[in-house]
């Protein structure tokens, strides 16, 4: 029913494009949780809105033609219709289902080592323990291939000292079925922690 129109990015979308921010020389304090910020780093995200904000990252990566892999187990997969409703190209998103944290990290090692992925998300669910040797290897590979590795963890506890950016997320309800998803950097090796990033998202169909 709606006519096809040329789609222009909104201001938020524009700001989410890291190259725009870089070229325009936006202030460093205006931190945007984007691919540019976390490329070549290990990042740990937890909290109430971790999944939704990570899906935004995947979308950014796909907009930049960066292949993305999502490693999880079958009991902690995202609901694919929700991801598609956010604009994600599911055909191009590599999903790997592995049973435990160690296998997930080893699969991530194989993927990042190829240098072909711009973003690898590892959903650890409630598991927190990862062999330090594997994490060290992942860090080296991420730096070498400028790949962003995001760990989704169930708790705010640390994965280890090698994590370069650790962030917690919070979701608050706003009027008319909108939710404000806020990400707060708890640890950031490249700048002072405490910076925040916000996105306003709708609830899934039926949630208001």
């Amino acid at each position: 029913m709606s006519a096809a129109v040329a789609v222009s990015p909104t201001k938020a979308e524009l700001h989410a494009m890291p190259f725009v921010r870089k070229l325009d020389g936006f202030a460093e304090e205006e931190a945007i949780f984007g691919l540019e910020l976390i490329a070549g780093r290990l990042c740990e995200v937890s909290g109430e809105a971790a999944l939704s904000l990570t899906i935004s990252l995947v979308l950014q990566a796909q907009e930049r033609s960066e292949p993305v892999a999502w490693i999880t187990d079958k009991e902690h997969a995202f609901y694919a219709p929700d991801a598609a409703a956010n604009g994600l190209d599911l055909d191009a998103l590599v999903l790997a289902f592995l049973p435990d944290a160690s296998s997930k990290a080893r699969a991530a090692d194989q993927l990042v080592r190829s240098g072909a992925f711009g973003l690898v998300v590892i959903d650890l669910a409630a598991e927190q323990r990862l062999p330090p040797a594997l994490v060290t290897r992942l860090l080296g590979l991420a730096q070498k291939h400028t790949t962003a590795i995001v760990f989704l963890s169930g708790h705010e506890t640390a994965l280890g000292s090698l994590i370069s950016l650790r962030a917690t997320t919070r979701r608050t309800r706003r009027a008319h079925g909108e939710f404000v998803c806020e990400l707060v950097a708890v640890k950031d090796k490249r700048r002072a922690p405490g910076w925040k990033h916000e996105e306003v998202l709708r609830g899934p169909t039926g949630l208001y």
Binding site: M1, S2, A3, V7, S8, P9, T10, K11, E13, L14, F19, V20, L23, D24, E48, A49, L51, S52, L59, Q62, E63, R64, S65, E66, P67, E75, A77, F78, Y79, A80, D82, A84, G87, D89, L90, D91, A92, L93, V94, L95, A96, F97, L98, A107, Q110, L111, R113, S114, G115, A116, R170, A175, E199, L201, R202, P204, T205, G206, L207, Y208
Partner: protein, 503 residues
């Protein structure tokens, strides 16, 4: 209603701006009941509706499918957020011709506050000024209402309540007059949600005066943040100075030369020095270059002005430089140029245009294919998959997984509004039974997450009668910890299950 940073403040409202934009796009819909929906699907929510639709009982907040049940003539479409942003920007530019200080309302598209101080030197009266503003907006296809007073909330409420004033503006001579009129405004007009209005009506709170007498803390607790904010605005507790939109950026760059320059080749490089930052400036604003004017100021005060217009708006510097070179080759630059001015005119760029400007990443998809082959070899063939959407009815039937051997280039879509994403449990988790009494203290995720504090639903799903009938009532339940779970009650098994959670 205590303070104001300007002598006179005006509020102009364009009622249901997104709907006005929709009718501009689809003029043939004017005789029909129309609505703007958040998504063009039966489940989409009606956000704005016109008077014809209201008369048929179609109201904002209804589902598109239900509204079509009331009138099959209903016309509805989505109105992308960027289109509304563009319209607001254009309206600000149009209003800046009447006052330099315009503040668009961040929460309600179509509401603008204007500094109306000092205009009596230019206009006979503020009513005449108001007529001129409304005429200008009418000329570009918008219906508007205006009030001129002294406070932000007062002018807003009066503009909302003065729907039938055909021309000019409602002008108040002094603050007490404005205050008295504001207090009489029916609550129905000031943008409270239907639910809040119903509750307030039961309490016989029907005007702004009644509303402002209520205690602020109670409003927040009982009616939420939106009503509380309006209350604070009304009482003046949320006073803020006018925050006008910045004046338009001319996108202009100037280069003064120490010595005169006659060589067109060298001039070309000077043009490039100015063109690149102009393109970056446009890019940072999400615009592409529509045309560029090069002004070559020569010695003795003569100027050469050249307008260069590409075939379509672009950010491609190489292509633009090609056009400039062709123009310079045909120009006679004598005497030499001492000053160069470049003015760019931009238009909103599409994502594709912006993407062209970016360096393509050098990721090798064949290497990605080899990597997933190694993962399959190490962990099993069914480990690497892709999700595929299906036409199912039940949540678990709406998608499936299929083996993935090749990684194609991603083609993401741009969606007008993004939404939260849920985790999905393929094997729903059996929940403890729900106590029969309210408040039930139902512990969905154990004692650490606390009891259910709010639930939204039910959304009834049934099907599978040809095989094994399924009848489920889906709910979103919010726990005291803030966790949002997606649960259902299986009517046949008489059990509650957790299908997933919003994260």
């Amino acid at each position: 209603m205590k303070r104001c940073c300007v002598d006179r403040l005006a509020c102009i409202e364009l009622p249901s701006l997104p709907l006005q934009l929709l009718l501009q796009d689809q003029p043939e819909w004017k005789g029909f009941p129309c609505a703007v929906v958040d998504q063009d699907k039966p489940n989409g929510e009606l956000l704005w509706v016109n008077e014809k639709a209201r008369r048929l009982g179609i109201l904002p907040g209804m589902r598109y499918g239900s509204a079509l049940g009331l009138s099959s003539e209903l016309r509805a479409a989505e109105m992308p957020a960027h289109r509304i942003e563009d319209a607001v920007q254009k309206l600000v530019e149009a209003l800046q011709k009447f006052s330099p200080y315009i503040e668009p309302c961040a929460e309600e598209p179509g509401v603008f506050w204007i500094d109306a101080s000092g205009l009596l030197h230019l206009y006979e009266s503020l009513d005449v000024w108001g007529s001129a503003v409304r005429k200008a907006l009418s000329a570009i296809g918008y219906v508007s209402i205006m009030s001129v007073g002294f406070t932000r909330f007062g002018t807003y409420a009066i503009a909302k309540a003065s729907r039938y004033k055909k021309e000019g503006a409602v002008v108040f001579a002094d603050p007490s007059q404005e205050l008295a009129a504001t207090r009489r405004v029916p609550l129905l007009r000031i943008g409270l949600t239907p639910k809040t209005l119903t509750l307030l009506n039961k309490l016989a709170v029907r005007t702004v005066e009644d509303f402002l007498k209520l205690p602020a803390a109670g409003i927040k607790r009982r009616f939420g943040d939106h009503a509380h904010r309006l209350h604070q605005l009304g009482t003046g507790d949320l006073w803020a100075p006018l925050q006008p939109a910045p004046p338009p950026d001319p996108h202009e760059r100037v280069l003064d030369l120490d010595d005169e320059e006659k060589d067109s080749e060298k001039l070309l490089f000077l043009v490039k020095r100015l063109l690149d930052p102009l393109l970056l400036r446009l890019l940072s604003k999400g615009q592409a270059l529509l045309e560029v004017t090069c002004v070559f100021e020569q010695e003795h005060g003569e100027t050469l002005t050249e307008l260069i217009r590409p075939a379509e708006p672009t950010l491609d510097a190489a292509m633009l430089m090609g056009l400039v070179r062709l123009r310079l080759e045909s120009m006679k630059v004598h005497p030499g140029v001492t000053r160069l001015v470049m003015k760019a005119l931009g238009v909103r760029a599409t994502v594709e245009q912006l993407r062209l400007f970016v360096e393509k990443p050098k990721r090798d998809l064949k290497a990605a294919n080899r990597a997933i082959a190694r993962v399959r070899a190490a962990f099993g063939n069914d480990v690497v998959v892709r999700a595929r959407l299906e036409n199912g009815h039940l949540p678990e039937a709406r998608f499936s997984y299929e083996a993935m051997t090749e990684v194609p280039e991603a083609q993401p879509r741009v969606v007008p509004r993004r939404s939260l994403v849920r985790y999905f449990k393929p094997t729903p988790l059996l929940l403890p039974p729900r106590p029969a009494r309210e408040p039930d203290g139902w512990l969905v995720r154990g004692i650490s997450h606390g009891p259910v504090s709010r639930s939204v639903g039910p959304y009834v799903l049934s099907g599978g009668w040809w095989r094994k009938e399924v009848e489920r009532d889906y709910y979103f339940v919010e726990l005291k910890s803030g966790s949002l779970c997606w649960v259902y009650y299986d009517k046949r098994r008489r059990r509650w299950f957790m299908q997933g959670k919003v994260a």
